[in-house]
Symmetry: C2
């Protein structure tokens, strides 16, 4: 069984085309990253190039859909359908030559995410999900983990970012959660892959403050379709307004 | 240019043979990890099997060398040469299906690490180094990064472990270092790969308390031969006695 809807195919095609450039540029980064200046400007141009290819491909197939993407922002057309794009999630990893980053594309229909893909080009893992049709990695069905005892769990998190105003709160939460899960916390540096890993049961939960919508859009449908639960820290689904997200198997979340 | 010494070849051969089982078992884990009990026992047996294969291969080639390995402990023979083995570094990642773990083998000569390999079977990256002959990944020369401004750096760390007595201290240090590096901290869950990533310039520094010798033995020679600096938190090289290690490019370490 696998996902074969037309919109998933459009996303996968755009993503595969863009990822060829991404991989080539990552090879260049590995040479640049030992220089003192570092590959900062190169990465920005890489990010924009990858975004351009994705948007061109998506617009070719769906000329009327609106777009929200990290670099170019909002392109408002159709009111019903909107692509939510993060051309490189885990930019800082990419910049440093750490082989852990992803392309993330979600699709909104009437303000609800109805499908999404997250692609890890280094491990060639294509995570995809569609409302009502389940979640997959490379066409294999995935499900969230079944662990119910926090002491056995691994939890992923990220942040705070450099200019974050709630740094102290985030460090406090980090310590608190660390102690609850026997200190099995990971910070891998890509929120999109963190959520894909929750969906595939590789980690049991993920939480982070102050993310952008393009970081989490595809991840939300992936976790939900894998049988998981997604909420903001107030128990609602206002991830951006409430500046927080928690995604986990449903056994370790208090509702 | 690459490393071709007989001892490196012995390590690489043992490691490649063992990694075939490791990859096969990891495939099984991915199926087991969604079950409630989880693959705990399976992982222990996998760890022991991989260790057995590595030791058999090493002993076939070097019957007289002593051994220190995570599961079986010390095997004292030759006083000059000793293999230091971690069959699966990042066991907790392996257990949860997180594709980030490694085999680590170091070689001591008269109490000094003179060569070592760290192998990531998922990405097929063989990191190897030999005293005086440099450090390599898949036969490509690697060097530590050149970043000197902490604000541009990514730092890797790990711990505290569940039963760690210095948890509070470790959380304090985590926060302190986070703020110094613009919060670009990663916790990837494998100390051996953390050190291999310092050696290849993917991260700028790594620090952790309370590691075992098999976690860091191969990493020490890799970082040194890549032009980096390795010290315990007291500025000495008593990593086990002083229960701490710091490995980084030499520009960001106060000597």
């Amino acid at each position: 069984m696998k996902l074969t809807s037309a919109n998933i195919n459009v996303m996968v095609k755009a993503c595969r085309k863009a990822s060829r450039y991404l991989i080539r540029d990552f090879g260049e980064i590995e040479k640049l990253q030992v220089s003192i200046k570092g590959p900062g400007d190169f990465v920005t141009s890489s990010d924009k190039k990858v975004e351009k290819i994705i948007i061109e491909e998506l617009e070719k197939a769906r000329p009327s859909y609106s777009i929200l993407s990290e670099e170019i922002g909002e392109v408002n057309k159709d009111k019903e359908f909107k692509w939510i794009i993060d051309p490189i999630d885990g930019t800082s990893n990419f910049l440093h030559g750490i082989p852990h980053f992803a392309i993330s594309i979600g699709l909104e229909h009437n303000k609800e995410i109805i499908s999404g893909i997250i692609y890890d080009p280094i491990k060639d893992e294509m995570f995809a999900a569609e409302k009502g049709n389940g979640a997959y990695v490379n066409n294999q069905r995935i499900r969230v983990s079944s662990r119910s005892n926090l002491k056995d769990c691994i939890i992923f998190t990220g942040g705070p970012r450099a200019n974050d105003k709630s740094k102290d709160l985030i460090f406090e939460e980090y310590k608190k959660i660390s102690l609850k899960v026997n200190t099995a916390i990971r910070k891998l540096g890509s929120a999109a892959l963190d959520m894909a890993y929750v969906a595939s049961g590789r980690c049991d939960g993920f939480l982070q403050r102050n993310l952008n919508y393009w970081d989490i859009a595809a991840g939300i449908i992936l976790v939900k379709e894998a049988g998981g639960y997604v909420t903001d820290f107030n128990g609602k689904d206002e991830y951006i307004k409430n500046k927080s997200i928690l995604a986990a198997n449903s056994k370790i979340i208090k509702k």
